[in-house]
């Protein structure tokens, strides 16, 4: 353990001798700071002060700094101060780590209310800029997609298959599971509520319409936004951080063609397929619960379902899927490209990618609901 840094005061006439002792190292940081303040207090008012280092054990830059700081402050207060009996190594250290005046940190600017207004203004401008940028990006990627379709031999099939597997195939179990569970829950609540009216069998209509029109595609999109949208942002973002995107550009390859189009296309293909599976799993969940809670046999359930829904009910859900995929993919890629140099910024963009994607998925779903209502489909 280091010896405690301290000092003894010795007064001779109007000269104060401060005999320092102990180890003046950062390990005993707090005590050292107190002792240094003590030095100033002890010698204040004297004509001259001598800081004697003869009995100091070890000393590091922290100690040197504090000792020299005390000496400077005494000087400024009109006490002639000097340091004595420093060993050569200590002198070097005192010289290297001697007191210098660092500017005080900049004072905080402005009024809090003004700051808040500025922030609000900045977010509005940013939201608008995001929207404009998003539309621009959408146009750019549609052009790139069309270009890829026009020149299929240049298309990156391997990349497409790879992403189809990771976005599509590997999401199947979790998509099936959550949709099955939600189908069960919807069926159970429907049966309980409709039982009051003796209309339990109408729960089948509700399950069919709710799952096929809304829940299947919505749950799948939200899951994919969390699972694959974040992956797209993280992948593209870390490539951006390590200048891999720049490397692609200087090779004459467009990151849009190489990275973004295959991912977008994979999502656009995978999401309808997943939605179909999600629909089936949801209906199956409803079927199981209806059998258990309402005693409706699978045959009766399916008969009922056939009369309750039409092909259009099924299509409404499915039509929405590729648009959801486009929204998720575009937001993921845009946020990925917005990553700056730091790990923190990567985290921020991934979060914002998932939040924005889920938000936009729900907005798009609402727009579709209005659209289908007005065309009475």
């Amino acid at each position: 353990m280091p010896a405690k840094p301290g000092f003894a005061v010795e007064r001779a006439g109007d000269e104060t001798r401060l005999n320092l002792g102990g180890d003046w190292t950062l390990e005993s940081g707090a005590e050292m700071e107190r002792s240094s303040d003590g030095l100033i207090g002890a010698a204040a008012g004297a004509r001259a002060a001598v800081i004697d280092l003869a009995r100091v054990g070890r000393m590091d830059t922290g100690g040197a700094w504090l000792i020299d700081r005390a000496r400077t402050i005494l000087e400024a207060a009109g006490v002639q101060s000097r340091i004595e009996n420093a060993r050569p190594a200590q002198s070097t250290l005192l010289e290297a780590a001697g007191w210098r005046d660092f500017e005080a940190p900049k004072p905080r600017r402005g009024h809090p209310l003004l700051d808040m207004l500025t922030d609000v203004g900045a977010s509005v401008v940013n939201a608008w800029r995001d929207l404009v940028h998003g539309v621009g990006f959408l146009g750019e990627s549609v052009v790139a997609l069309l270009r890829a379709l026009g020149r299929p031999h240049l298309f990156r099939m391997t990349s497409l298959i790879y992403h189809l597997e990771s976005f599509g195939l590997r999401s199947v179990p979790i998509i099936l599971l959550i949709n099955f569970l939600v189908g069960c829950i919807v069926a159970q609540q429907g049966i309980f509520q409709l039982r009051y009216f003796g209309a339990e069998t109408f729960a089948v209509n509700m399950i069919g319409i709710l799952i096929l029109r809304e829940m299947g595609v919505l749950l799948t999109s939200i899951m994919i936004a969390g699972r694959s949208g974040s992956a797209i942002t993280a992948e593209i973002g870390s490539m951006k951080m390590r200048e891999e995107i720049d490397a692609l550009k200087v090779m004459g390859l467009s990151p849009m063609d190489v990275l973004i189009v295959p991912r977008l296309l994979a999502l656009i293909l995978a999401l309808p397929l997943l939605t179909f599976l999600a629909d089936m799993a949801g209906i199956f969940g409803g079927l199981v619960v209806s059998w258990g809670y309402a005693g409706l046999s699978p045959d009766a359930f399916l008969d009922r379902l056939k009369t309750a829904i039409g092909f259009n009910t099924f299509m409404v859900g499915l039509i929405k899927a590729p648009f959801m995929a486009l929204v998720i993919g575009l937001i993921g890629a845009m946020e990925g490209l917005a990553v700056q140099g730091s790990a923190e910024s990567l985290g921020r963009q991934v979060t914002s990618s998932v939040v924005k994607a889920i938000f936009m998925v729900i907005v798009v779903d609402g727009l579709f609901a209005m659209f289908f209502a007005s065309i009475e489909y």
Binding site: T25, L26, E27, G29, A30, E33, V56, G57, R58, M59, D60, T61, G62, W65, L66, R69, R87, A89, Q90, T92, L93, E95, A96, A97, R100, F102, E103, P105, Q340, G341, S342, A343, E344
Partner: protein, 274 residues
């Protein structure tokens, strides 16, 4: 970085002692019974071909890579025998500068330098600010660099900032992993000078992994060469030049080495004579 009270022991004391070290990954053995001593107050240059395990050795000493067998003593303490508290206390006595800097990208340079202080020491914010700025100035960074983020710095500045962070706790021992790689010759020479100045003023022991022959000639007191999982040659530059090992011969007496060997007497103080 600590000025000792009268050091009457006289003999050069050994700060890192590695004995019979074996390190491997899976079936691949990288260190086959390696021995190495680092003495207090010296600058040890550690050279070796790419992929020979220079960084692995550094990381093993730092405890980032597990060893198969052998003994590592740092500051006289066997790393296998110290408990977690002692290990923490030990880690406070050395600073590490990673090859890519490994600065925390979410913190400014000043906060990076303060990070170890904040964790290990009880200091007032004012003193921490002052000491961080002092360290930043000691490594030759401009003062406005203190409030910049690592992504806003050039390669050379990142190296300096990483060195400032390595020096934050006033360590006695500093590990430098290829400190001059990626710097232009002028920047590299300045960095060499900086390391030497700091080493002298602060009384550091420096363990430096390097490829840079200029650094070796300019600032290393002793050199250890690694090949085939062992230290095949150890000593001053003269020892290296007279070694008969083919790799050492190729390294120090190859085309690049010869020019330096011819000119070194005019340019640098003799190695080992600190």
């Amino acid at each position: 970085m600590v000025v000792e009270a009268a050091n009457g022991t006289g003999q050069a004391d050994v700060i890192i002692r590695v004995r019979d070290l074996v390190v491997g990954f899976g079936p691949k053995i990288i260190m086959r019974g390696l021995d190495l001593d680092v003495r207090r107050g010296e600058v040890l240059g550690f050279v070796g071909g790419s992929g020979q395990g220079k960084s692995v050795l550094t990381r093993t000493i730092l405890g980032l890579v597990p060893k198969r067998s052998g003994k590592i003593e740092v500051f006289g303490q066997d790393l296998d025998r110290v408990d977690a508290d002692d290990r923490r206390r030990l880690e406070r006595r050395y600073g590490v500068m990673f090859q890519q800097g490994a600065l925390f990208s979410g913190l400014t340079v000043k906060q990076n330098v303060q990070a170890p202080m904040r964790e290990h020491l009880k200091l007032s914010q004012r003193l921490m600010d002052e000491l961080a700025l002092l360290k930043i100035e000691l490594v030759g960074l401009p003062r406005d660099a203190a409030d910049k983020f690592p992504s806003e710095l050039s390669g050379g500045m990142i190296k300096r900032a990483a060195l400032a962070r390595a020096l934050a706790l006033d360590p006695e021992l500093v590990f430098l992993d290829e400190p001059t790689s990626g710097l232009d010759p002028i920047g590299a020479a300045e960095f060499d000078d900086l390391i030497q100045t700091l080493q002298r003023t602060l009384g550091l022991t420096v363990f430096m992994v390097t490829h840079d022959l200029d650094s070796i000639y300019a600032i290393c007191d002793r050199i250890a060469a690694l090949a085939e999982g062992k230290v095949i040659a150890e000593g001053t530059i003269q020892t290296m030049l007279s070694s008969q090992h083919p790799w050492v011969k190729a390294y120090f007496r190859g085309k690049r080495g010869r020019v330096l060997a011819l000119t070194r007497d005019d340019r640098h103080a003799p190695a080992g004579g600190l």
